[in-house]
Amino acid sequence: MNSPIAGNQMSRFFQQVAEYTRNAISAGKYLIQGLAVTFDHMGRRPITVQYPYEKLIPSERYRGRIHYEFDKCIACEVCVRVCPINLPVVDWVMNKETKKKELRNYSIDFGVCIFCGNCVEYCPTNCLSMTEEYELASFDRHSLNFDNVALGRLPTSVTTDKSVQPLREFSYLPKTIMDPHEMDPTNSRAGKLPEEVMDWMKQESESAPKDLVESINNQDKKTEK
């Protein structure tokens, strides 16, 4: 310690110790911050949905099990052609006297279906539609092969099921409300409903200045020509 080199080393050692201590203290501070976060979470309401007793209301665009109306079907097989794996089985025969297709059976295997909704999109007679049913678990995968009778059944709606408490999904809650439990069911969601948007658009077009509307109409005519 008498020589300057030794003194220099000592001071460097103490600097290291000081930095180490600072690091340790800041680590402790961050740890306490983290503990405060977890502790704060303990006082919050559970965000989980208690499934068999509570269920979320599926959104209107939900792609669930497909519903099928036998009487509307014309056996055109468009659903088969647009299906990624040609899944729907359309069993029909040609009636030679009437020269018309006679549908005998229709089935979709939901163990294989990916619920892409192409068949629903392209069906010319709208005999296919999406339901909000998603509870398709079964003990045997063959029982997922729905025939036209099973496909024609309507699922129990979450909102009408007496044994289930329906809960709105997050995006269907009114503004500033985060928890579906504490919401009055008559409250409407944040933003406008589709029909409200339609009304609003009508009002807009009526109140818009006439010359503007005419000029737009003229433009349309020009393009038609």
Binding site: A24, L31, L35, V37, H41, M42, R45, P46, T48
Partner: protein, 379 residues
């Protein structure tokens, strides 16, 4: 125990009164002693088991709350019977020994993990005379017993004949050995201040001025070191590498099922409760009330040696010990959901390069303070 009871003459002496009652019924002192012997053992076993059941329930409920879930709900009110259901399930499950495993070591492993932990409950005091045996080397016995555990872990890791198990066992052994040393140094500083290894003496030395004389104020660094090391010894979350499920499936427990797995599970939770108990004994004044109970008795004009007051202070002591312990268990559970797991090199770095030097400095510092201020630091 009786010698100390006559010396200090505060608190209940259950053994003495039990023997007196039996002798009143005409039993000889030897028979009375033999009849007394199994009672504390059963009491400690059931206390440890109930402690574990409560801790498991708390762990599940607090974990759920920290993640904004509900947790067990249907087994009993608020899911209070869930740990019982878990235990029952493990009890009736098939006991599998893998075909290529060393069946003797495979069976011996969990036993070797559990027995030292339960044995360590010998030295945990819930009151002046409310412990199994007030041996002079109390806290040293705990440190010695906890060194047996890594052998059991290594044994089961090796005997499983599974790479994950072996790695888990090796990690557990490395971790236990690394953190034993700073732990012992932290305990040594406390022991130096109270001039005794006996847990009862350590608590008595802390309770002169209520919570102001608790060791946590005189040994804040030691407290932190001890708590970190205790978490590492219990393989709690910041240090749960031996069973890191993302890397090692379940570590040394991978091949275990049924009751043998339950022994590991039980061992880890008993160890957690035990560590929390020892932290409260070493640093938080054990059974001591935040205000010295003698002062309270004097304020209310009660004689501290009166039987009713003694029963009251005895039960208050038990309540205080359990309260402090479960506060620490709560902290451990909260830490589990707050801290990420450290890597094995970070773990060993922390143990050898940080806690060990700090523990040594703390010990030296305590020795210096003891020489300089013998009144405050137990001359």
């Amino acid at each position: 125990m009786t010698v100390l009871g006559t010396l200090v003459s505060t608190g209940l002496d259950l053994e003495l009164s039990f023997n007196n009652i039996l002798q009143g019924f005409g039993f000889s002192p030897e028979v009375a002693h033999i009849l007394w012997l199994p009672l504390p053992m059963l009491l400690v076993l059931s206390a440890a088991l109930i402690g574990v059941l409560v801790t498991v329930w708390l762990e599940r409920k607090i974990s759920a709350a920290a993640q904004q879930r509900i947790g067990p709900e249907y087994a009993g009110a608020l899911g209070i019977l869930q740990p019982m259901a878990d235990g029952l399930k493990l009890l009736v499950k098939e006991d599998i020994i893998p075909a290529k495993a060393d069946s003797l070591l495979f069976t011996l492993g969990p036993v070797l993990v559990l027995v030292p932990v339960i044995l360590s409950w010998l030295i945990v005091p819930f009151g002046q005379n409310l412990l199994i045996s007030n041996i002079g080397i109390g806290i040293f016995l705990w440190i010695a017993l906890s060194s047996i555990q890594p052998i059991g872990l290594l044994m089961s890791g090796y005997a499983s004949n599974n790479k994950y198990s072996l790695l888990g066992g090796l990690r557990a052994a490395a971790q236990s050995i690394s953190y034993e040393i700073p732990l012992a140094l932290a305990v040594l500083a406390v022991v130096m201040m109270s001039n005794s290894l006996s847990t009862v003496d350590i608590v008595n030395q802390q309770n002169g001025l209520g919570f102001l004389s608790w060791n946590i104020w005189r040994q804040p660094v030691g407290f932190v070191i001890f708590w970190i090391c205790a978490l590492a010894e219990c393989e709690r979350l910041p240090f749960d590498l031996p069973e890191a499920e993302e890397e090692l499936v379940a570590g040394y427990q991978t091949e275990y099922a049924g009751m043998k797995f339950a022994l590991f599970y039980l061992g880890s939770y008993i160890n957690l409760v035990l560590s929390a108990l020892l932290v409260s004994v070493l640093y938080l004044g054990g059974w001591g009330f935040p205000i010295p109970i003698e002062w309270v008795a004097r304020i209310f004009g009660q004689n501290i040696d009166a039987p009713l007051v003694q029963i009251f202070t005895g039960s208050l002591g038990i309540v205080m010990t359990i309260l402090k312990t479960y506060l620490l268990v709560f902290l451990a559970i909260l830490l589990r959901w707050t801290t990420p797991r450290v890597r094995i090199d970070q773990l060993l770095d922390l143990g050898w390069k940080f806690l060990l030097p700090i523990g040594l400095v703390n010990l030296l510092f305590t020795a210096g303070l003891k020489l300089a201020f013998p009144i405050a630091f137990g001359g």
